[in-house]
Each structure stands twice: as structure tokens, then as C-alpha cells.
Symmetry: C2
Subunit: 326 residues, 2 copies
DNA sequence: CTGAAAGCGCTAACAC
DNA sequence: GTGTTAGCGCTTTCAG
């Protein structure tokens, strides 16, 4: 790999001069004659010089790399795409540190590599609680330790989004709406959004957990609609209905949460809430980079999930009638 | 960030000694007294020393990082998970270089960062053809420029896998089997696998492209089964059938390709071929690391896709009868 | 058993 | 306009 020293020798000048020219630090007025410049540029090209960012990082104390510490489960990749996009726009790149069992060792590796910032993605908060304090005193910002609290992380307003979906289901004319979810951390907020709206309309609310209640059980309850805590669960419900030849949305409506790609390919396609992972990754990375560069910080604006209306829900006749009566 | 120099000063020894101790290069026989060792280790811990891999990379000429150059479309992430896993097992980490429009600039960044190897992932071969030769002369292995030819890349034997699926469909008792695909590069091989088996059983083969033939058209052709070129297309077909209240697999069988997660959540769940992206990522990364470290290379073993049998196909009665007759 | 010194490739004050 | 010099943090050979 050719170095500046070699170029300097071939061109018969000093390394400093080469450095100046190759970094374009000779704005017409300053230093280095045109002739020498050209000569240096030419030999650099001829020799195939590529600058060494390792050294720049060492000297400048900045690597322009952001460490992503994660187990890299499927759901983080849309976020990472957002990260990658935005990082690239600011001249940063991403470095991946896989955590298998040991979060601390992954963090250590990221620090050894002298990342400009470290983002923990999708790490369970119980693990995070146990990170020794000294990791935070190294002078490297460690961000995104959970999905909600951290300022660098824009976050989906789970409750508000769930409320919006529930509101939509009520508007469709559904009365007996069941909330069907699991144990993931966001569930309580989604459930709260659901309850809030059900109470507002004085409708009976009912939350059921898929660990104790099967999709078939849900069907047997003969709901008007089921608001599922995530798209995957909604698809399971759709599959159960399909096997029993129960048509959706004719028999009852189904809504998911996430707008993951399964929701677009199910039969019928799912009405769901878009979690905007990509977008949230972009904003998140922008904030992280801002915090590295300026220490300034735009105020935190939570993202609101967009309602995605597809074929698994529909306006019921009596609702349409109701609208006519107004 | 604390340095060895600081440790040396606090401990009252030279930097060399610190280096030796911290790198565990004092195997009972050699150098440095126990007392000094302990002292150094203690002050290192007290000060919170974390070694600087940037410098190590500079000195050793190896970064232990693999550059992934890609547009990071969804389909590459299962591969990247495999990469990350295997890289981590060998003490390497991944660095992501996003290519927006300009492959060369992304490659240049990866070279500037002095990656030990560079993998181009999911880059169209037309772009790759135009990479100037000098990129390959930098001493950094650039691998995986396409999905098939490169020795570092294990690859799914597309034709063989498609043949296996077709064979399965024939075994199910289906006669009129349509192959329904698109324009992606793997399609011709999959089609060839399909044709090969259809001919073997002297069944009529028919290939239709979704750019000119809609899922509804396919249904109207009243096939026994449809072998789709990918899971997504298969789901589109399932959705079209659902809207017309045509039951699968009762009306006809449907098979996909890829075993992407949509295939597991469709109604009915899809019979498909597992492309083993994760596994292929693992093997690929292993080969790349081997090639960095030894220049030795295990022979290339193409991966065979596993048949994943789910609810969208079934054994037909006359086939079962046939089996009884034997 | 321990330390001095050179070197990895480059930047940035400062002198000539 | 151009070169000298001292670092950045660490490894490693070679004296002591």
C-alpha cells in the first residue's frame, strides 16, 4: 500500500508538501507552486495512493465510525438501514459488534476500536441495568440503551398509536373489540392506548395474552374485531381463521401493529400501524451525530405511527347507516 | 482515555514493561517480576485502561475488520447476520459501507479504512463489471462480487433446489404445474430446474412471467399447482385466491422459493425452499477469514436448499392411491 | 529482569 | 513556497 513518503521521494519533495497538496490545503494564495502540485497529484495517482484513515483517526482522535452493539435479531435491521443511510450522509460508517451472551465484552470491543459513539440496539433493559458505570466514563457516548427513555432515540408514541388504531376500529363500527397481545415491553403502552379509547366510547375492553389464549380461542369468543399487539400474532390469527374457513373481515376485523412485511403479504393484507423503523433510525442517527459534533441537540419529537388501512378491516353497514343519519 | 504511558508513569516502570504485562507476554519464565506485574495490572484497572485497537491495526497492518459494501436492501440482512456471527467467532467485526449510487466511492472508503477484506453484497453484476482494475491491486481481497462465481461465496444450487421442489410437487400428484416467476437473475436457473423435472415425467411445462400475467390470470388457467419464483409472488397469488374465495391447497397447490418470513405467516403457510441465507453467510465469512489468514481454501460446496413443507400443498388422493398400489 | 529507541503513516506548529 | 520536528499510542528488537 503506497504511502505519502513514497510519493514524496518519487516527486522529490517533503512529506509535508505532499500532505498539503493531497489534502487540498493550498487554496490559490497559499504554499506550493502549481507545478509541484501537479507533479505530486500525478505521482499519487500513478502509484495508486489511497489515504490511510487509520492514521487520521489516531492523529485526530476521531474515527468517524459508530459502533452498533446488538444481537442483530431481525427486527433491528430496518433501523440499521436508517442508521446506515444517515451515517453515510454525514461521512460516518457503521461498525457491527455482535453480542452473543456478554454485553460487556461487546461494548469493550467497541471501545477498543475507539468508536465515536456506541449504540446499543434491541438490548433488553435488564442487561443494560447491569452495565458498570465505568463504561459511561470513557468519553464515548453510549446511546439507545433502551427504546424509550434515551434522548438520542426518537420513539414511536406507542400509546397514542394504539389509541389511533382503536379509534379507527370503533369508527369502522366494531363494538366488541378484543386486544390480543404478548409480553414484550411495548405491550402495556399499546394496551393502555386501546383501553383509553374503549373507555372513551364506553365499550367493554378485554385484553388477552397469547401465552394463555390461542388464536382459536379468540375466534370462539366471536369478537367484532381483534386488535393484535403485533403483525405476527395477527397473522397467526388469520391463519387460524383460514383453517376454519372463517372469512376475514366478513366474520370479524383484524388489525396488527408494526407494518412489518408480513402484514403486506398475508391473506387478507393486514390493517396495521406503521412503526417507521427506518425513519426512526435516520432521525436517531442524525441526533447521535449531532451530539458527537456539536453537543447540541434538537428537541425530542416522538414519532406517531401512521395507520395503514388494508383488507383485514372494513366499515360495517350499521356504521355507514349511522353516518347517513347525521 | 488512559494510555500505557500514564500507567507506566503511575507505576514507575517503562512503557515496554507495561506493554509486556498487559499483553500477557510474561509466561512464568520470562521477564517482569510478579510484584511489578501485579502493580501494573492494578493501576491499569484502577485507571480504567482500554487498549487502543486503532494503534494495533496501524502497527500490525491488520484491522480485524471486514468491510461490507452494499445498498443494504432487505434481502441482504439474513446474510449479514451470518457474517456477523462468524466474524465474531473469529475475532473480526463488520463495517458497513453504504453504496447509494457510486460503488467506487464506497469501495474507496472501505480501502481507506484499511479493511482486511471487502465483500460486495447484492451489487448488480453490471456495476461490478465496471470496477477499475486497480481496486483489485491494492492488496485487499475483494470478494462476493456476484452471487455465484466467486469462490468465497457458497451458493445455493438454484437449479437443483428448484428441481427438488418440482419433484415434490409431482410426487404430491400434481400434473398441470405452472412455473410463475419474474426477471431476477436467479429465475432462469430455477426455471431450468423446473423444466428438467417436468420433462423427466413427460409433463407439459409452462413458464409465465408476473410482469405480463397477473395472479388472477394464473388462477383462471386452473392449474393443479403453481411453483412461484419467490415467496412474495406466491403470497400475491394466495391473496388473489383469497379474494375470490378460492381455497388453497384444495383448489390448487402453491409453492414459493426462499423461505422468507412472509412464507411462514401467509394463509395458508407456504411450502417453499429454504435459501439458507444465514448459513450461507456463515460459511462465506468463514471462507473469507480463512483466505485472509492462511490463503488456504476449503473446496467449494454449494448449499442445497431444504424443502419446507407447509399447508399450501398437499398429497392428492389419486397419488396416495398410487402409492398403495405398489 | 528491564528500558531505550526505532518505527507504523500521517498532521500541524514552526522555522527557513 | 518548502522542509523540520514533534507527536498520536503502541510493538518490538536489541542492549544493558
Amino acid at each position: 500500500m503506497v504511502t505519502m513518503k513514497e510519493i514524496a521521494e518519487k516527486a522529490g519533495v517533503s512529506r509535508t508538501t505532499v500532505s498539503f497538496v493531497l489534502n487540498g490545503r493550498c487554496h490559490k494564495d497559499q504554499r506550493v507552486s502549481k507545478a509541484v502540485q501537479k507533479k505530486i497529484l500525478d505521482t499519487a495517482k500513478k502509484l495508486g495512493y489511497v489515504r490511510n484513515d487509520l492514521v487520521l483517526s489516531l492523529v485526530k482522535g476521531r474515527t468517524h465510525a459508530i459502533g452498533i452493539v446488538s444481537e442483530f435479531k431481525d427486527f433491528v435491521f430496518p433501523i440499521i438501514r436508517g442508521y446506515a443511510q444517515e451515517a453515510q450522509n454525514h461521512g460516518y460508517s457503521l461498525r457491527l459488534f455482535q453480542v452473543d451472551d456478554d454485553l460487556e465484552s461487546a461494548l469493550t470491543k467497541a471501545i477498543q476500536a475507539r468508536m465515536d459513539a456506541i449504540v446499543c440496539l434491541g438490548i433488553s433493559s435488564s442487561l443494560v441495568k447491569n452495565i458498570p458505570q465505568h463504561f459511561f466514563n470513557m468519553g464515548i457516548p453510549i446511546a439507545g440503551l433502551n427504546q424509550t427513555g434515551h434522548p438520542e432515540h426518537p420513539f414511536l408514541d406507542q400509546q397514542h398509536s394504539a389509541a389511533a388504531m382503536t379509534e379507527y376500529l370503533v369508527e369502522c363500527g366494531y363494538k366488541k373489540i378484543i386486544c390480543y397481545g404478548g409480553n414484550y415491553p411495548q405491550m402495556p403502552l399499546r394496551e393502555a392506548g386501546y383501553r383509553e379509547v374503549m373507555e372513551k366510547y364506553q365499550l367493554p375492553s378485554q385484553f388477552l395474552n397469547h401465552h394463555s389464549v390461542s388464536p382459536d380461542d379468540i375466534i370462539d369468543l366471536k369478537p367484532d374485531a381483534v386488535f393484535c399487539g403485533d403483525d405476527y400474532l395477527a397473522c397467526r390469527l388469520l391463519q387460524a381463521a383460514y383453517l376454519r374457513n372463517i372469512r376475514i373481515p366478513e366474520a370479524f376485523g383484524v388489525a396488527g401493529f408494526g407494518n412489518t412485511n408480513v402484514s403486506n403479504f398475508s391473506s387478507p393484507a393486514l390493517t396495521t400501524v406503521d412503526e417507521s423503523f427506518f425513519e426512526s433510525g435516520v432521525i436517531s442517527m442524525r441526533n447521535i451525530i449531532l451530539s458527537i459534533e456539536n453537543k447540541k441537540f434538537p428537541e425530542q419529537t416522538p414519532i406517531t405511527g401512521k395507520l395503514i388501512i388494508r383488507g383485514s378491516t372494513k366499515n360495517l353497514p350499521h356504521n355507514l347507516k349511522g353516518k347517513d343519519e347525521k
